[in-house]
């Protein structure tokens, strides 16, 4: 039974992986090009007159922000688009008429989404290091915490993509929402800057966004700090909430 379930998940993953391999352009844009552009843009806005210690901290913050931006764009905008396409072009019917559990479909999609995040994060870290950014991430514990942060963040934002794809009334409505949320979750949260520069209303809103805690945790682990337990706990709760809603809404049978 478990083996069958794992094989189902692997098949859903492989079916979508073929899309990634065949149409790498949008993925590269979402995972590397836009986040990298934002990284350099944030660096340019910050200027080069800061003391070295502050400049180094800024670069780590921008790198963390770009990693979160990459996750948000790939999981919500790109993955959300694929899920909407599956639903509104009738591909989902191929799954819904099979003896396949809806949860296996969602888990296959999540696995696909985690593979994006791994590729995107690794590429951004390599590019940052090649550009001379000092990333004091050396310990196995630090890498482990970064990995946990990425997994939890991706579960959170992929859950949001699943909810949109399941509930959208049309392809246009869904894709507008995924585009708006993919970028919006990053722009409304203190991802590229500290929370203190946000207006009070946005500070309150940002406390509800997973990207706030993801950015804080990624930045801390990249800086070599390990005290991210509270952020991971909040991300876990948010991931549980968005995924349980996604699992509940993803049904094969219409009423």
């Amino acid at each position: 039974m478990i083996r069958r379930r794992l094989d189902d998940i692997a098949c859903v993953f492989l079916i979508h992986l073929a899309r990634l391999r065949a149409e790498a352009g949008p993925f590269v844009l979402a995972a590397f090009v836009f986040p990298l552009g934002m990284y350099f843009f944030a660096g340019a806005v910050a200027g080069s007159s800061s003391p070295p210690a502050e400049a180094s901290a800024n670069h780590l913050r921008f790198l963390a922000g770009s990693i979160v931006f990459s996750m948000s764009l790939t999981a919500i905008s790109w993955l959300g688009y694929l899920l909407l396409e599956n639903r509104f072009t009738g591909r989902l019917k191929l799954f819904s008429t099979l003896p396949l559990a809806p949860s296996s479909y969602v888990l296959g999609i999540l696995l696909f989404s985690l593979s994006h995040a791994t590729l995107g994060t690794a590429a951004l870290l390599l590019i940052a290091r090649a550009s001379g950014v000092a990333v004091p991430l050396h310990s196995a514990a630090g890498f482990g915490l970064l990995a946990v942060t990425i997994v939890l963040t991706m579960l959170c934002v992929s859950g949001v993509a699943v909810i949109i794809a399941a509930r959208a009334r049309s392809f246009t409505e869904g894709s507008l929402l995924t585009d708006a949320l993919g970028a919006g979750l990053v722009l409304l949260a203190p991802v590229y800057y500290g929370p203190d520069v946000l207006p009070r209303a946005l500070q309150l809103i940002s406390r509800l966004l997973p990207t706030t805690y993801a950015a804080r945790s990624v930045q801390a682990t990249l800086s070599g700090r390990l005290g991210v337990g509270q952020d991971l706990l909040i991300l876990s709760l948010m991931a549980a909430a968005s995924l349980s809603a996604g699992f509940r809404l993803m049904k094969w049978r219409e009423d």
């Binding site: 098949c11 079916i15 073929a18 009738g90 019917k93 049978r253």
Partner: protein
């Protein structure tokens, strides 16, 4: 006595807006039988078939598939079915053989058996020269054949096909008819909808006419034409006479 392949009793589907798409349908499909369903556009054929395939929950009534309650245990019922929906999309970036292989695995075939089934079906579908070609490069008719192939994977004992030959050229239709006859020869029961009277006549052991959500006639072509008021006696005449008419109860025992 063995249960019929499909048993439908007093099937009603009422949508939220009050439209009644199925109005008390009673029907048995015998084991090893091919049943053709005809009816005008919007008569309720697809709604009826989608309830059989468990995609759509009936408002009331009973459906059993080889004795399994398809309303309360859709997952178990789906294991016995191969389904070709009227409008379903394929995964464009997959190759033909790979598409069939991955869906064979999703139907529960072990990896090696799935590979063998895909290779065999590619030939049976007349797509041997396209086996490694991406779906995106295929014609509409070739895609339709793959949808039929997906239903045939794993040799399910029941095939439910919604307008399986729509969009096929004459050669493609004959190929599909041959595949369905072969499946029946191997013991499968088949229920399919069609707008082609010659297809219903040539392929179906019995023909059912659905009109305004009701099954208005059911029987062999000879039985149906014998009840006609005119002497010309073609299935098309039956269709026109019964499109808005009352039910000719040819088989009260089956009810």
């Amino acid at each position: 006595m063995l249960d019929p392949a499909v048993r439908v009793r007093n099937l009603v589907k009422r949508y939220a807006d009050g439209t009644e798409a199925s109005r008390g349908i009673d029907l048995d499909v015998r084991r090893g039988e091919i049943l053709a369903i005809v009816g005008a556009n919007g008569a309720g054929k697809t709604t009826f078939l989608r309830q059989l395939t468990t995609e759509l929950r009936p408002t009331s009534g009973a459906i059993t598939i080889f004795g399994i309650d398809a309303v309360s245990a859709p997952g178990r019922a789906k294991r016995l079915m191969g389904v070709s929906p009227q409008e379903a999309g394929l995964f464009e970036t997959l190759g033909v053989r790979r598409h069939l292989e991955l869906f064979a695995r999703l139907k529960g075939l072990p990896r090696r058996a799935a590979g063998a089934a895909a290779r065999e079906l590619v030939i049976a579908l007349g797509l041997a020269t396209e086996a490694e070609r991406r779906i995106s490069g295929l014609s509409g008719g070739q895609r339709r054949r793959i949808l039929i192939g997906l239903a045939l994977l794993g040799r399910p004992p029941l095939l439910v096909l919604d307008e399986p030959t729509t969009g096929l050229d004459p050669a493609g239709r004959r190929l599909v008819w041959g595949l369905l006859k072969r499946a029946r020869g191997e013991g499968a029961s088949i229920i399919f909808s069609t707008h082609y009277m010659e297809e219903a006549e040539g392929l179906g052991d019995r023909v059912g006419v659905i009109s305004a959500g009701r099954l208005t006639a059911l029987g062999t072509v000879a039985e149906l034409t014998a009840r006609l008021s005119s002497a010309s006696g073609s299935l098309e005449d039956v269709y026109f006479e019964l499109a808005g008419g009352c039910f000719i109860d040819l088989e009260p025992a089956a009810k």
